[in-house]
Assembly symmetry: C2
Homo-oligomer: 138 residues x 2
DNA sequence: TTCACTTTGTTTGACATCAAACAATCGCGT
DNA sequence: ACGCGATTGTTTGATGTCAAACAAAGTGAA
């Protein structure tokens, strides 16, 4: 039964990919979730926490301890916005930008590794088909 | 950056599929994880807990509260094995088998829904490519 | 202006998960 | 027969996640 279900294969692939990602970026202390946060902040300096949570597809409340960790490690800064004293603008520190640079290189190698069983065209097609899955939920 | 990564697309697909699954089987109180357990027990009556955990790709310790819930709901039985007093043989009750039957029908509809944007051939190809991902981890 | 409603970040509670430690039991080698 | 190591199920602790509730701050309508 299970081997005929798309969700089963997607879940197994997800587990395998995240395990490989963790292994590839272990020396940098970067998980898939933290990497996504760094990438989004880097591309959108000054982003509010709520907006970052939406972009990263996690709950506002889940983001809080993650940002605390990144801030304690000196990778991200929360600057209270002058216009709206409720919200924080998020910025990468120099150390954060450097770590993101190193992590990006490691992620590229990881990506090549997990896709090594696929041709370039298959890889594109795979991402395309994944995006067309579960249309009701999008 | 993120939209070029396989892991990103797989994760989004995974979230969407599980959300749809939850919605489709909400009336039965069956999550993807519990469904997998029922399917595996049904196909392998008398299975030990450790073996079930391996088959379902979860930790032995994670299985304990899940089985407690299934047992409390009267869907699964733990029968202590006469040959090895450490282990429990797992069996579906009549109620468990009936629930699994209903759930299987709902899962078939769910599967058709999430795959509605794909042709049958694409669906097969998608599962095949997912299985060829992250070869280092298999 | 004032007051209800919304937004923002945070705290708390519930739950799934893994890893480590544990007692009970088993099995094997001597 | 005995004892050491492995196995089995469980408990405990840490982490990541969502949902609900909350205070502080902003917004808009009467």
């Amino acid at each position: 039964m299970l081997p005929g279900l798309l969700g089963y294969h997607v879940r197994l692939a997800q587990i395998a990919i995240f395990e490989d990602f963790e292994r590839a970026l272990e020396h940098l202390g970067v998980s898939p979730g933290l990497f996504a946060l760094l990438v989004i902040i880097d591309a959108n300096p000054g982003l509010k926490q709520t907006a970052l949570a939406q972009a990263a597809r996690i709950d506002r409340s889940t983001l809080v301890p993650a940002l605390n960790k990144l801030e304690q490690r000196g990778l991200v800064e929360r600057r209270s916005a002058p216009a709206d004293r409720r919200s924080n603008g998020l910025f990468l520190t120099t150390a954060g930008a450097e770590l993101l640079h190193d992590a990006t290189g490691a992620v590229r190698e990881h990506e090549a590794g997990i896709a090594s069983g696929l041709t370039g065209a298959e890889r594109e097609q795979l991402m395309d088909m994944l995006d067309r899955l579960a249309p009701r939920s999008r």
